[in-house]
Symmetry: C2
């Protein structure tokens, strides 16, 4: 995926997952430095409903496969220590 | 949770999630430095089947609430950069 495009797409995500991918909210996971392939599979699972989450369902609903690849590349590229 | 007890319990987890909580396998998430509360909710979801995963279901099936609290404390305590 494209990191820059992923960053541009991540504005909504940052509200919960943090501008640097380290969440401010204990219930929400850090995404910085996470495995790209894992991020892709989870976003697709939220989009399809294979993984059920009332907050993430509407977030993922509007994402294309390309958006998902870009967001995953972006978050995987972030420093895991924030 | 108790970090030391969590570490003792984590031998099986380390096979996929890495001895330092950084996974060697692109499909499996890093756990090092992840949010404790998030780790607890996900392990409980795997145990109850709320979150479906054929690999994690048997892993979580045998865990008590105390095991889950300890494992979450342990992985949350690890350096996110590995």
């Amino acid at each position: 995926g494209d990191v820059e495009k992923g960053k541009a797409k991540s504005a909504t995500c940052a509200a919960c997952h943090g501008a640097n991918g380290i969440s401010m909210i204990p219930d929400y996971p850090n995404l910085a430095g996470q495995k790209e392939k894992y991020l892709i599979s989870q976003l697709k699972a939220f989009r399809s409903g294979d993984r059920k989450n009332p907050v993430m369902a509407p977030m993922a609903a509007g994402l294309s496969d390309e958006d998902i690849a870009n967001l995953a590349a972006y978050y995987a590229s972030l420093n895991p220590a924030g």
